[in-house]
Subunit: 514 residues, 2 copies
């Protein structure tokens, strides 16, 4: 069958089941009830300290076929997944499903665990590195489920992603299971992506390398939801958190794009008191924030909030009074950790509050503007941030689809050419974010407005911005680099791309060996 954006998807996918086809950004109306974990008790005097991960496996007990969840705040410095899976392998467990919010190169040992049958299922919002490559080439029998950050929270809250045991990598804990990410030698900042796991898993294990006297404060995850605390020598390397892309770009093309994007935002008229803003951590996105900041300063505007993965740049804007609040679901640098710890207006938020489409209203709903990236975008404005030009998985939605759906104005910034390849195509290899939720594409050679937004297009044109049809921009790029050859893929479905509401927006098929 074809879904609402014309992607061909089987009605049933082996290893996934029956497909609910994507039907439009707000087409799904939730029914049903929230996930209800078992009710427990803990008597006065009972301890939660458990001496080793192995002991946890025996105590729960963890059995073949269970779903274990993990969060990715340590990004490429995560030390918990590998330690836990080493124990699982040693104990001879099989057929585990790993729900890790994002998978990085550091998780390479997963490949062996998959080959040995310890792990047979993956559920993630982002994948890059050796695991993503191996999965792309058909390592797993069952397809990976790729979700959005808000969609993962929704799937957990609604019981679609049922977690047997959640492992929380906790930079600081007390002996009764109060946890935070801002204390201790391995502080990572916000623990927001682990909030749904802690709230809805059947069993919750804190893994920490830093115990403080009871009661710990601040508390990000409460003692009421933590069943056991295990102290290990090290939960991760905070140096792996910092991404290479948290600096404002110095590349002239990137700066050109950012200038154009900032002019688009100015033309929308949204830069006024109460302005709210999200941007990714990429260089061009941060450069856009930089120009937006200059406009806010010139107009003496106080924004309401900045949102998302947080860098020192946003912290500085908070401290200078340019925003009243910063909402932090994930910290990208030391400044973000310091500010979260010390500034009451820098507020830790869980993934559900951040971006779940199915609650009383998430934060992305209140965004004026979001700046997003793209690996490819097609002439219907559908965006691919999952697969690269060789068909291999090298990313994922993360909060991309969520913020795009929520914001009043969603802007994709991208170089017209990515390497030697045009970024605009007739049809993206993998649709991650539907064109319906993308308003503007900003490149260094011009700006395209989604035809669904004729008023916005007119407004930008009147502001003297270089507005073109997206087809014109595509031709411009192809005039320079030629039309790219279609990527050849195999038949096997290696990943299903779930939209934030739980419908399937696309599938990823096996990459050809190159």
């Amino acid at each position: 069958m074809k879904n609402q954006i014309g992607r061909e998807i089987p009605e049933t996918i082996p290893g996934y089941g029956k497909v609910n086809a994507f039907a439009g950004v707000f087409a799904t109306i939730p029914d049903g009830k929230r996930q209800a974990p078992p009710v427990k008790r803990m008597l006065p005097g009972q301890t939660k300290l458990v001496e080793s991960l192995e002991e946890i496996f025996k105590r729960v007990p963890i059995k073949d076929g269970m779903t274990l969840s993990f969060h990715h705040h340590f990004r490429n410095g995560d030390g918990v997944l590998n330690q836990v899976l080493e124990v699982a392998a040693k104990l001879g467990l099989k057929n585990l499903k790993i729900a890790l919010s994002s998978i990085f190169p550091v998780h390479k040992p997963l490949i062996e665990h998959i080959k040995n049958g310890v792990v047979t299922g993956l559920d993630a919002n982002y994948m890059s590195g050796p695991v993503a490559e191996a999965v792309s080439k058909g390592l797993l029998e069952k397809p990976v489920i790729l979700r959005t950050h808000g969609g993962r929270a929704r799937a957990i809250e609604c019981g679609q992603l049922k977690i047997d045991v959640a492992f929380i990598a906790a930079p600081a804990a007390d002996d009764y299971g109060n946890l935070n990410g801002v204390s201790g030698d391995t502080a990572c900042g916000s623990l927001g992506y682990a909030f749904p796991d802690a709230e809805y898993a059947d069993y919750v294990v804190a893994v920490t390398d830093h115990i403080e006297p009871y009661p710990l404060a601040p508390v990000s995850i409460s003692q009421t939801r933590v069943d056991a605390v295990v102290v290990v020598p090290c939960i991760g390397d905070p140096k792996g958190i910092v991404s290479g892309t948290t600096q404002v770009t110095k590349d002239p093309v990137g700066l050109k794009i950012a200038t154009n994007a900032a002019k688009v935002i100015e033309a929308t008229g949204l830069i006024q008191d109460g302005f709210s803003f999200q941007t990714g951590a990429g260089g061009a996105s941060l450069a856009t924030a930089h120009f937006v900041r200059q406009m806010m300063e010139a107009k003496e505007v106080t924004g309401s909030f900045a949102l998302g993965g947080i860098t020192g740049y946003m912290v500085d804007m908070l401290e200078k009074g340019l925003f009243r609040r910063v909402f932090d679901v994930q910290g990208f640098d030391l400044e973000a950790q310091r500010s979260l710890r010390d500034n009451p207006n820098h507020i830790e938020v869980g993934a559900g509050l951040y971006a779940s489409p199915f609650n009383g209203g998430c934060l992305v709903n209140k965004l004026d503007v979001v700046i997003l990236g793209a690996t490819e975008i097609d002439t219907d404005f559908n965006v691919n941030v999952v697969t690269g030009s060789n068909g291999v998985i090298m990313g994922g939605s993360g909060g991309h689809s969520d913020a795009a759906a929520g914001a009043k104005v969603t802007i994709v910034v991208a170089n017209l050419l990515r390497g030697r390849l045009p970024i605009i195509v007739d049809k993206v290899l993998t649709a991650t974010t539907p064109g319906e939720s993308i308003d503007v594409l900003v490149t260094e050679r011009g700006i395209a407005v989604n035809p669904r937004q004729p008023e916005l297009r007119q407004r930008l044109a009147e502001a003297g911005l270089p507005v073109k049809d997206i087809a014109q921009l595509k031709e411009l790029a192809e005039a320079i680099a030629g039309a790219p050859a279609a990527v050849q893929t195999g038949e096997k479905i290696v990943a299903v791309v779930e939209y934030r509401d739980g419908t399937i927006i696309d599938v990823v098929r096996q990459a050809k060996e190159v």
Copy 2:
């Protein structure tokens, strides 16, 4: 049948149903799953502002027979219940159940609503004033359910008290339903008793008289759980919050009791770094805190936490470094509000975290010592804090049974005579807190230790404290005032007293007209 402490209780109570008899403080092991409210959504651009309470009734819609919940942070200054019920009466609704965490004299209009059939069920943790008196005399056909603060949280979390619509009296709100109790002209401090209502009700309404620009901070109850925001002229009178009993007593008998209680605590050896403490807001309790404080200062001890309803006295101890944290489920004065707003170590906690027996571990589990009051105590150490000497309801457990169950040492402080009546009796009229969870009774004429704690008795005797058998203390009192005549009650059961685990520890029978 007789329950574990020998109280005679019917197997089935009309208007309540089948009785699970109290079987011991930790006899009940939870099974089942957490309450699961319906999953909803809120689209970007949708507003939560609703123009009137009447409009809320139509929008939900609120129907005959529903359960509406309210919280009692405004105590005798609450303005929300009466406003909501006025609308209910005007719209002709019948047969509503009102789950209000505590009922005060200000709620007198409830009597008319009960007479008119608008309200036919009550669920509360504490009742005093005209409603309590009228209920005692048989106003309601169905018995009131009297719970503990932790038991109410448990009943909500476990789906036993199913809330259709929760009304949250919010001193401050934004237009998207973020709420706190520390801003605005009617600030009341902590909103902790409303946390379970907000988390598990099918529909959540914020009622406020103070809207701040989005996003409000700090946030006590999140936008993800609030469906509608109604602005009314006034939600209550903060002057009604302050109880007359938040000052250290000057009464010499009270001071004598407090001195003895403090010596008991000293003799337990628990006053050392990490000491944790809860006390009520009564004069003798606060006087005990005062003497404990002097001992902490003399020994240069830093306690871990103080807990409960919070007064300026505890705030001062926090600020002087005598405790590292204060956990606040309810503020009793302006100092508590100020400190909660400004001091990151003064932490707002919900009723479940405070005291629910059925979660991953509540705060009372970590208490070293709690000081509690009593209206009566019997020779089995069972305590009555529900009915007065005329059999009329004039209180309730609140956190009494919860803290008693959790703390390492539970001390009841009481004058040997209450008015002209001995406080120690053979059998309390209404058992609220089981003797199993009471360790020591301290009076001005001596100290009785529960025979379950022979080591503690020996320790206190060795410390030179005036330890007596509870029967001796009873005789002492009766020698002064004579043995009190048994209270005569009618047959009709006007209230069931539910222990924190959901079992029935006692019933209250109709009071005779006097």
